[in-house]
């Protein structure tokens, strides 16, 4: 076996979720939303007509300047600033020892999801003035974050987070192939796996398109599941089927990423151009918003 740096190991699903910033982001979002809507009476409050909402029972708590509403604004702002730590980790040499880039990214994703949620409750769904521009910029940044993550995971990286070269990528693919061939010890099964790979991995001469990449990625899971189902019908033992599924999933992902690699990298670079300016925009307006609030006397923790 060659000393090829391993790409990100394929962790178990549960292990993956435990360290997933997106998963924790969604969990936190669900909990916060349930607490606000059900625990604090937000469901009735946000459903009340704006003209008289100020006199609803929950207004004192949930209004933007109230204890909960303002706290959401504060925490949300902090969470929206936190992603810059990921940038700092990436770019500042002094922070290179401060944890892995992956963990910083997961934190980045968590904050990028929960922050907008908290800010949304801070607005009490009332969008006026230029601060509304900041809000919608924030929403756009958050949604673009999902796009960025999609592109990011399709650029194979080493366990340390460094991008793999094409040669390293090919070597890893061969390793996986050999690993599977040794495990199976069956030419027939191996031929079936290769035949399946040929259906989900485009040939080098095939036309590259974003739509093809998206649909292929979406359909791959279903096709793999169907393939494993066929193996089960042929009487392939479960342990062997699991090995085939695990290795094939990683190898096909590598090969599909390799096929779209250039385009993915281009898009990811372009994404940076789009993602970052919106963040600056929202931070500038948010800063103005905070400054004006403080100027008017709406200082934190002084609720009347």
């Amino acid at each position: 076996m060659s000393a090829v740096p391993a790409s990100r190991p394929a962790p178990s699903r549960l292990a993956g979720l435990v360290t997933s910033g997106v998963a924790w982001g969604f969990v936190a979002t669900a909990l916060i939303t349930a607490w606000v809507l059900l625990g604090l009476g937000g469901r009735a409050y946000y459903g009340t007509d704006l003209a008289v909402r100020a006199y609803a029972p929950a207004h004192r708590l949930l209004r933007p300047s109230g204890p909960v509403g303002q706290s959401f604004g504060l925490v949300g702002t902090v969470l929206m600033v936190m992603p810059f730590a990921y940038m700092a980790r990436k770019r500042l040499s002094g922070m290179k020892g401060a944890g892995t880039l992956k963990h910083w990214l997961e934190l980045h994703l968590f904050c990028g999801i929960v922050g907008p949620v908290l800010v949304t409750f801070h607005t009490a769904f009332k969008f006026n003035g230029i601060i509304a521009a900041a809000y919608w910029s924030m929403v756009t940044v958050m949604l673009s974050g999902f796009v960025g993550r999609y592109l990011f995971v399709r650029i194979p990286r080493s366990i340390r987070g460094n991008e793999l070269t094409r040669a390293e990528l090919d070597a890893r693919a061969y390793d996986l192939h050999d690993q599977l061939a040794l495990t199976l010890d069956s030419d027939r099964l191996m031929q079936e796996v290769e035949a399946f790979e040929a259906t989900v991995v485009p040939a080098d001469s095939a036309r590259r398109s974003l739509a093809g990449q998206l649909t292929g990625d979406i359909l791959f899971g279903r096709r793999l599941h169907a393939f494993v189902g066929r193996l089960e019908a042929e009487g392939v033992p479960p342990t062997v089927r699991d090995d085939i599924a695990r290795v094939t999933r990683e190898r096909v992902s590598l090969l599909r990423a390799r096929f779209h690699l250039e385009r993915t990298k281009e898009l990811f670079q372009l994404w940076h151009v789009f993602h970052l300016p919106l963040v600056y925009l929202l931070l500038v307006i948010a800063a103005a918003h905070i400054a004006l609030a403080l100027y008017m006397g709406y200082v934190p923790f002084r609720w009347s």
């Binding site: 003209a51 006026n128 003035g129 509304a132 151009v273 300016p277 925009l281 307006i285 008017m296 006397g297």
Partner: protein, 627 residues
């Protein structure tokens, strides 16, 4: 790539400002504002006005609010009204920047305790408006409303009755029902009777409550009587009702007597307030002239005031006194409703009351005195128009009548006949009113021949008059006839004792007048065989009278005329009787098969005698024997 990023940042910045500005009406104040101000504060929109409410570092203070809302500040200071307990910042209760329709003064109208908060309890009719603040609070400010009635209600009495409306009005009743609060007995004019039910405005016209004159009824009530009956209305009327029965009609020009005393006032005084003066001297003022002027409204001639019907009228004053059967008749037995055209001319000349009955007018004047005016002429003018010749008004039936002509005819058997036996009819023989079917009776034009009453039982066998044979003098018109003289067949010998019916049989067949059953009197025939049977069954062609007579059919003697027979009538033959040779024989005869004495016998001996020799000696018996 860096260049692209810079361009994108610039574009996004412009977009953000444009979007925010577009949302907030492209004003800096709007860009910074958390939302539009409510409509009452619309004039404070704009960045230049922020400081009018907001204070650096102090948010929105009550001082800023009350600087404008002075009336509220005063009420807070006086601790009255809704804000009597207000102490904190206004924004604790009044929220802004919730849009142009944002509610600035939230409160639960249903739960609002108007009495406790404002000191003005919404009772009675006001309670109905408790849910509708705007009914009283017309302006935007609630504090503009005053507890004084005139603050909301128009003082229609201004300025006559002062400002204390509660003297007459209460919140428990409508303004128009002021009497529920005002005790009119405290006024100079106490309300009694029907006056208690009259609306105030009926007397207090135009909202004038003071100085209303009431000394006389006519101050309020119009004088309906023309000419006026004076101002002392209470002579007839009371305060309970205008329709009073308190009028002493004896004091009027028409004292009420008889049936008039029982009539309700309104029956004659149909129009209210006696607007029309009744003409008491004519009945037609009230009563419709059902006679259409036939009596020129001289009602008293027949009617009196006791009752319309049953009035006595002396019919003897007319040209037709009612006697006998006519006396008990009711008027309408003869005086019936006339044809419209018949009275049209008269009704046109005589005015009748409006509303008179449309019933047909009874014709009293047009009836004539002749019997046929009422009675039908059952004789169809056959006997003329002078009914009294036979009938009287005591009874229509004829007690006795003597025919003035045809004396002998009405004697003997005709003497006991009743009229109806000859003058018969198919309809009831009773006098009938005009319009009923006439009776089929013939008197003057009746047939005078016997057959007009009697039936020709001979069915035309005789053309001579009945009197030729029959007479009224004979019982049952029996006939005695001289057969020898009156017919061609004299009844001689035994014919004289024979009953007629022996020869004149009852036959059914054709007769001169008709086919039927009758005694055959003519055409019986004079020959013997017309009545008698030919017992010889046609053996003898000679007349019966050749041997027989009408005295007896038996032959006393007979002499054979034939020489052959005479030659045989010798010896014992001369002593022999007829039947020794002519025996009764059954067999064929000229007139048919039957039993008869056979006259034609043979001359041979064996025709009568038995051949003892049984033909052994031949047929000629004379060779040995002699008669």
């Amino acid at each position: 790539m860096r260049r692209v990023q810079q361009i994108l940042i610039a574009v996004l910045t412009v977009w953000a400002i444009a979007a925010g500005a577009g949302t907030a009406r492209a004003q800096l104040g709007s860009l910074l504002s958390p939302g539009p101000l409510a409509r009452p504060h619309a004039s404070l929109e704009g960045v230049a006005n922020c400081a009018k409410c907001h204070e650096q570092g102090r948010r929105v203070t009550a001082q800023k609010c009350l600087a404008c809302h002075q009336p509220i500040a005063q009420r807070i200071a006086r601790k009255v009204g809704v804000h009597k307990d207000a102490g904190g910042e206004c924004v604790l209760c009044h929220a802004e920047h919730a849009g142009v329709n944002g509610e600035l003064r939230p409160f639960d109208q249903k739960a609002f305790d108007h009495a406790a908060v404002t000191g003005f309890a919404l009772t009675g009719k006001h309670a109905l408006g408790a849910q509708q603040c705007a009914a009283c609070h017309k302006g935007r400010s609630f504090v503009d409303a005053s507890p004084a009635c005139a603050a909301c209600h128009t003082d229609v009495h201004k300025p006559s009755l002062g400002s204390n409306c509660a003297t007459c009005h209460s919140t428990q009743a409508a303004f128009t029902a002021a009497s529920t609060a005002f005790d009119h007995n405290t006024a100079a004019f106490r309300l009694i009777g029907a006056h208690t039910k009259v609306a105030c405005a009926s007397c207090h016209i135009g909202g004038v409550f003071k100085g209303v004159k009431f000394a006389s009824c006519v101050n309020c009530h119009k004088e309906p009587h023309q000419p006026s009956l004076g101002s002392n209305c209470t002579t007839c009327h009371t305060t309970d009702s205008w329709r009073t029965t308190n009028v002493n009609h004896q004091r009027t020009s028409f004292p009420l007597v008889g049936a008039h005393t029982k009539v309700a006032c309104a029956t004659c005084h149909k129009q209210s307030a006696t607007k029309v003066t009744l003409k008491s001297d004519t009945c037609a003022s009230c009563h419709a002239d059902v006679h259409a002027g036939q009596f020129k409204q001289d009602c008293k001639a027949c009617h009196n005031e006791t009752a319309w019907k049953g009035g006595r009228f002396d019919h003897a004053t007319t040209a037709f006194a009612l006697r006998g059967k006519h006396a008990p008749l009711t008027c309408d037995a003869c005086h019936r409703p006339a044809a419209p055209t018949r009275v049209a001319a008269r009704t046109a000349a005589v005015p009748t009351r409006v509303g008179a009955s449309a019933a047909p007018v009874v014709d009293f004047r047009g009836l004539k005195t002749s019997c046929v005016s009422c009675h039908a002429d059952v004789h169809q003018a056959e006997l003329g128009t002078n009914c009294e010749t036979c009938h009287s008004d005591a009874d229509f039936a004829l007690r006795a009548y003597t025919h003035k002509t045809g004396g002998p005819f009405f004697a003997a058997q005709h003497a006991t006949l009743t009229c109806e036996q000859c003058h018969t009819s198919l309809a009831p023989a009773r006098p009938a009113r005009t319009g009923t079917a006439p009776l089929a009776v013939r008197f003057a034009a009746a047939e005078r021949g016997c057959v007009s009453c009697h039936q020709d039982i001979h069915l035309g066998q005789f053309t001579a008059r009945c009197e030729t044979c029959h007479s009224v003098e004979t019982a049952k018109f029996a006939v005695t006839i001289d057969h020898a003289r009156q017919t061609s067949f004299a009844l001689t010998g035994k014919h004289g004792a024979v009953a007629c019916r022996e020869c004149h049989k009852v036959e059914t067949g054709r007769f001169p007048a008709a086919t039927g059953t009758a005694v055959r009197l003519k055409g019986v025939g004079a020959t013997c065989v017309s009545c008698h049977k030919d017992v010889h069954l046609g053996q003898l062609v000679a007349n019966c009278e050749s041997c027989h007579t009408s005295d007896t059919f038996h032959l006393a003697t007979y002499a054979h005329k034939s020489k052959t027979v005479l030659a045989l009538m010798t010896g014992a033959h001369a002593r022999a009787s007829c039947v020794d040779c002519h025996k009764a024989t059954t067999g064929r005869f000229p007139a048919g098969t039957g039993t008869a004495i056979r006259f034609t016998t043979g001359t041979a001996c064996v025709s009568c005698h038995v051949d003892q020799h049984r033909g052994g000696l031949g047929p000629n018996c004379g060779n040995c024997h002699r008669p």
